[in-house]
Symmetry: C2
Subunit: 357 residues, 2 copies
């Protein structure tokens, strides 16, 4: 089995890049297994050369000593790079143009004259689209956890409960068991459900009434991998128009999931959902139909009208069409789905069919 580094080196070879400096937090984690405390401060770098790898970080972190090169005020990153460029005869150095800040790029350009700098985009994120067995296991686990969370908290979705209270219970449930949230859950009641990306934390905390409609969009992060699910809940008997819309949406979402194994491009999944909704007399939605998921909640491929991404086995994506009537109510059904050689598998398994949920 080729390692992630082997696969990446093959890409570099095709592009005539002798060495590649990885700066993105998640790309470093993906290739090296190393991560810093937070994902938004530049505290580590990872260099892949033809025969070696190097991890650059500061004295607060521990890493395998054979690859670790300490960044200190006296021995900065560029100094390390200069030495390695010379020692290994590196002619071309790839960098992540879609991650490096412009001013970081400038600093490399000005200080590393020995190697030609090649800016790239989406090299590693493209590789990360195709999940290996270990990643799929971890995503499955993250899906099982969020399924369990919704199952155990199902009884809390009741008359009198507020949006923030339920969101907090989801967070508490996950963290109390040692997991993390993939993102702050969206819990949207009644007219808030019509806001596709409702912000529960800063929202007006509508409380559930009899005959309320409730949208919950949540995910777990387990062993660095994420899950993402959206389910609708009804208190009491849903209105006929809601139930009708729900059944249509459920049917369209299920068909879209199945179609992942029959189409070549993700944009066809997006257009399928919108077209089917239109045929059924519903408006289109203002968000995309889904996204790749893995170390990050939102990664490639994209399921949108302008996506050029191809459908390939071992991608993991969400499929999440919705119906929204502004100021009244809205609904979305979302699963995290694994595309297999044969068929597809929704990894989120919390029931969605009415009335059994």
């Amino acid at each position: 089995m080729p390692t992630r580094i082997d696969i990446f080196r093959k890409t570099l070879n095709q592009k005539n890049i002798d060495a590649f400096l990885v700066s993105d937090f998640y790309n470093i984690l993906y290739l090296s297994g190393f991560k810093t405390l937070v994902d938004d401060e530049r505290e580590a770098w990872f260099l892949v050369t033809k025969n070696n790898v190097y991890l650059f970080t500061d004295g607060r972190y521990r890493a395998p000593s054979n690859i670790l090169r300490l960044i200190t005020p006296e021995h900065r990153l560029t100094q390390h790079l200069k030495e390695i460029i010379e020692k290994e005869g590196i002619k071309t150095l790839g960098i992540e143009g879609d991650d490096l800040k412009f001013s970081e790029y400038q600093a490399f350009k000005n200080n590393l004259k020995a190697a030609k700098i090649i800016t790239t985009e989406r090299l590693i994120i493209a590789q990360r689209q195709i999940k290996d067995a270990d990643e799929i296991e971890k995503i499955k686990e993250a899906c099982e956890i969020i399924d369990r969370c919704l199952t155990e908290l199902r009884q809390e979705i009741k008359v009198g409960a507020g949006e923030k209270e339920i969101a907090f219970k989801i967070e508490f449930w996950l963290k109390n068991k040692g997991y993390a949230q993939a993102f702050d859950p969206i819990v949207a009641v009644d007219k808030n459900s019509a806001v596709p990306h409702y912000d529960t934390k800063s929202g007006n905390n509508i409380k559930i009434k009899n005959s309320s409609i409730i949208l919950i969009d949540a995910g777990a992060r387990v062993k660095d991998y994420n899950s993402d699910i959206t389910r609708m809940f009804f208190v009491g008997k849903p209105k006929t128009e809601m139930l009708n819309a729900y059944n249509q949406l459920l049917d369209i979402q299920a068909k879209a999931v199945e179609k992942l194994n029959k189409e070549k491009f993700f944009k066809n999944i997006d257009s399928f959902c919108r077209q089917q909704l239109s045929v059924a007399g519903f408006p289109s939605y203002s968000h995309s139909t889904g996204h790749g998921i893995g170390l990050q909640v939102h990664e490639y491929p994209k399921l949108s009208a302008i996506s050029e991404d191809r459908i390939t086995p071992n991608q993991v994506v969400t499929v999440e069409p919705g119906i929204y009537f502004s100021g009244r109510w809205g609904m979305r059904i979302e699963d995290t789905v694994l595309i297999k050689e044969e068929g597809v598998e929704a990894l989120t398994k919390f029931p969605s069919s009415f009335p059994s949920f």
Copy 2:
């Protein structure tokens, strides 16, 4: 009173920049009050021209309609910018070189030929160093909240409690009251206290014993503003060497705080702490002596040996020297401090003097 935008326009004028495109999440929040759901996906832009401001975002967000320009697939950001550049006769367009990705910069360079692009660094973050009255109020509140949190949880720091359990209680206490964490708290017991940036979440969860030393580094986020405090706790009677080190460190930290009103440069505060520790026979520490704090936990000024930042009234910084004996134990004392016209004020007021705490 000049507004934040007024002050920023003055900077732009000095630099002959006709218009400035703000991309950083916190800089947009600072200047416009607008924020998107998450801080790491590019979902909004803010443009400041000589006479107008514009907020660009997508249909999921709400913003005042007089400044809102909707980004859609048909009407992208560059199209909006082109129109405004032409209408307002903009000759020079500033961008944030320390925030924009290299590939974003390239896209602007290629698509916006009408205006000259001027890359800048730290323009808004420099302004954000000096807090206005509203900001100081919010930071004070964030400090009061973390003080209360530590006070109420003081009794949980007892024999048998694990690091993760205490960290989780801090998080739960804050969130249950509707606040957020400034960062994941560090709770480090015994030999873990010697690791300056110990990661409690992925750590080995040492439990408190009789005669344990416990380091807690935590902060609250209230109304978007942060606080940051580190306190040491002892169970039972501390060993003489620890108590001696603690009293020395406390004295040095208090003097360093007072010195903020007497020195011109922050690097002098950093060197003062290290020098005093050295005189007292203790090793230096591998982290900086402090950092500005506000909308972000780590912002300018920096209190380090290589900092060129000047001390000015209305800056808010942390002061946090430490003493660490690897593999044995460590300690750090940290306050969030407001620099005033006359004197200084530690905004975190949880007691630090032994034995009264």
